[in-house]
């Protein structure tokens, strides 16, 4: 496939390794010289959050962007109560939507990957095809649907669409994985008299754990970062997700309403708190996280 690219590569000159090594060494230094500033710039906004989260009004007014001492950790305590409610709301939604999506996607993938029946591929593509439809086409009709089903201002308005979207992407991701599992395992289980469900639950599901973890992270990131859909379906503060909570806190600070014009420190403290859950997940499941991030692209 790429043979043409390698032409001329075979005549390796053996007399050069030392100079190459020196060159590579120099190159390595240059790499860090570019990477480190880029990294620092990428992280700068986050450092800004941490710096400003510890400011009183006076400190902020005087030095809005430099570190000021003393650092007021109590700002975090002030915001912790409100933020924890938003975090719980988001967790409830994801805590139902993601298992639902995983269960539907894994069982459906199992059926598609391990059995043969008329129309199977057609049904499979009927599901996969849904990934081609962009969110913009969904926004208006899904809102009207949720409205007519009476789901407005209930968590189901988020859970059902998230579960449906997650199940579609899940089938796409899990079916090939399920199909790649060794048939002998399944055969052995069936000979032992296990039914379809038992084979799925005892054999297929445990083997699929890595891909399920990846899928979980992808869905979690998507739901956690969703701004538009919660903002049209959730209008009561007690149901706000993390994103909506942050948005309403920030709006009131930027426009100077309820929280008062000068509570910037509190706002940034809330920003920091809102990041903790995903940091926690990342620490627990670093590998699945990185995998999830990079395979999120498989969608298209």
């Amino acid at each position: 496939m790429f043979v043409t690219v390698t032409t001329g590569a075979s005549n390796i000159r053996p007399s050069q390794p030392s100079s190459i090594r020196a060159g590579l060494q120099r190159l390595q230094g240059v790499l860090h010289l570019i990477l480190i500033p880029t990294l620092l710039l990428s992280l700068a906004p986050l450092a800004l959050l941490l710096i400003d989260a510890g400011k009183t009004t006076e400190q902020f007014e005087a030095h809005p962007w430099a570190l000021t001492l003393p650092y007021h950790f109590e700002n975090y305590w002030v915001m912790a109560g409100g933020m924890s409610r938003y975090i719980i709301n988001s967790s409830i939604v994801s805590g139902i939507a993601i298992p639902l999506a995983l269960a539907l996607a894994s069982y459906t993938s199992y059926v598609f990957a391990r059995f043969k029946f008329p129309g199977k591929e057609m049904l499979y593509y009927a599901i996969i095809m849904l990934m081609m439809i962009p969110f913009v086409l969904y926004l208006v009709p899904q809102y009207l649907l949720v409205l007519s089903l009476g789901l407005m201002n209930t968590r189901w308005a988020l859970i059902f669409p998230y579960a449906a979207g997650g199940a579609v992407f899940g089938v796409f991701l899990i079916r090939p994985f399920m199909a790649g599992l060794a048939e002998e395992l399944f055969e052995a289980a069936r000979i032992d008299g296990a039914g379809d469900w038992q084979v799925f639950y005892r054999i297929a599901l445990p083997l699929c754990r890595p891909i399920l973890a990846t899928l979980m992270i992808i869905l979690l990131l998507g739901q956690w970062n969703d701004i538009i859909w919660p903002s049209v379906t959730m209008t009561q503060d007690k149901l706000y997700t993390v994103t909506l909570g942050i948005f309403s806190i920030a709006k009131s600070v930027f426009h100077g309403s309820s929280l008062g014009q000068t509570q910037w420190g509190f706002m940034f403290a809330a920003f920091v708190i809102s990041s903790l859950p995903l940091v926690f997940v990342f620490i627990l499941a670093r590998k699945a996280f990185i995998q999830g991030l990079s395979s999120g692209a498989l969608k298209f």
Partner: protein
């Protein structure tokens, strides 16, 4: 085992055509009935929340539905769009954003991916990879709000920095002025290292056969030449994917408009997707909004197909 329907010539297409085997299609479907039963739950959920909405979107596009009532008005929404001043402005903005994001959404992540790929030390590579994805752990809305603060006219970081170096006269209400609002949205996220995209490109680079890279290195060809002649042709598939992702994200995304600028000042930063949103949700013009959604869907589908067709791998050609 005996439950599996065996056909000597397995394959979906064979089922639809007449059967050479002794069983009719219906008989085989009847015998496989429980597999269909297994699929009922997912199709029940998708039926309501995944199939029904887009169909309704197409239908609403031809009505003046306002949330309560509406009637069929044919192509009126689409002809109204042609003369909609805001919509026309939003298309101009979308094209500018699309062109800018082609660069900012691909080049910086590609550069960092190449740099990480060239790193010798595995430990340093791991460190950078992890460090670059830290911003992904922060909710998108927080990043957006932080940038809104960076651009803030009074407290913003940019204006503070400018006055610190004595360039007060350059200070600006970056998001509030017509001429700087759209550039400010483009500059958002600088240095634009999207971890997802960087990881995709890095994964593609790591996939290049080692011998190929080593051969070029030993040939003491310059790194630049290697990148041009080996890396880029080899990862064209990943690059194409990134471009498609960027196109889709730019055309359907409006988080920045929603949380930062409200599409303004005036029409300075509005995009078609945001126009759809505001027409539907601020003016209850759901039919009109759906028409914009339908158009966007067609444009996204068209551009995706075009990218797939015209940005082909150099390797694919040579093979």
């Amino acid at each position: 085992m005996r439950d599996i329907v065996h056909t000597p010539h397995a394959g979906a297409s064979n089922y639809q055509t007449h059967s050479a085997s002794q069983n009719t299609l219906l008989q085989r479907m009847w015998r496989a009935k429980r597999y269909y039963l297994y699929l009922v739950p997912i199709f029940a959920l998708l039926g309501v929340f995944s199939y029904y909405p887009p169909i309704m979107a197409l239908y609403y596009s031809f009505t003046n539905f306002n949330g309560v009532s509406g009637k069929f008005i044919g192509l009126e929404n689409f002809s109204d769009l042609a003369t909609d001043r805001i919509f026309r402005a939003s298309i101009g903005n979308a094209i500018k954003l699309l062109l800018a994001n082609m660069v900012t959404g691909l080049i910086p992540p590609l550069l960092v991916a190449e740099l990480l790929f060239s790193l010798r030390s595995r430990r340093m590579g791991d460190f950078y990879r992890t460090a670059f994805l830290i911003p992904t752990l922060v909710p998108a809305i927080v990043i957006i709000m932080t940038w809104r603060y960076i651009y803030h006219a009074r407290y913003g970081l940019i204006n503070s920095l400018l006055s610190a170096v004595g360039l007060d006269f350059l200070a600006h209400d970056w998001l509030g002025s017509f001429d700087t609002a759209l550039p400010a949205l483009i500059f958002f996220g600088f240095p634009w290292i999207n971890a997802t995209i960087m990881l995709i490109l890095l994964a593609a680079l790591i996939d290049i056969p080692r011998e190929l890279i080593d051969a070029f290195r030993l040939d003491s060809t310059s790194t630049m030449q290697r990148i041009m002649h080996v890396d880029l042709p080899y990862i064209v598939g990943a690059i194409r994917l990134v471009i498609v992702l960027n196109i889709i994200a730019t055309l359907q995304g409006f988080n920045l408009q929603f949380a930062m600028t409200g599409g303004g000042p005036g029409t300075a930063t509005t995009v078609p997707a945001f126009h759809m949103f505001s027409q539907a949700f601020f003016s209850s013009r759901f039919g009109y909004g759906s028409a914009i959604g339908t158009l966007l869907f067609l444009v996204i589908a068209g551009l995706t197909v075009l990218t797939r067709r015209y940005l082909r791998s150099g390797i694919e050609y040579e093979a």
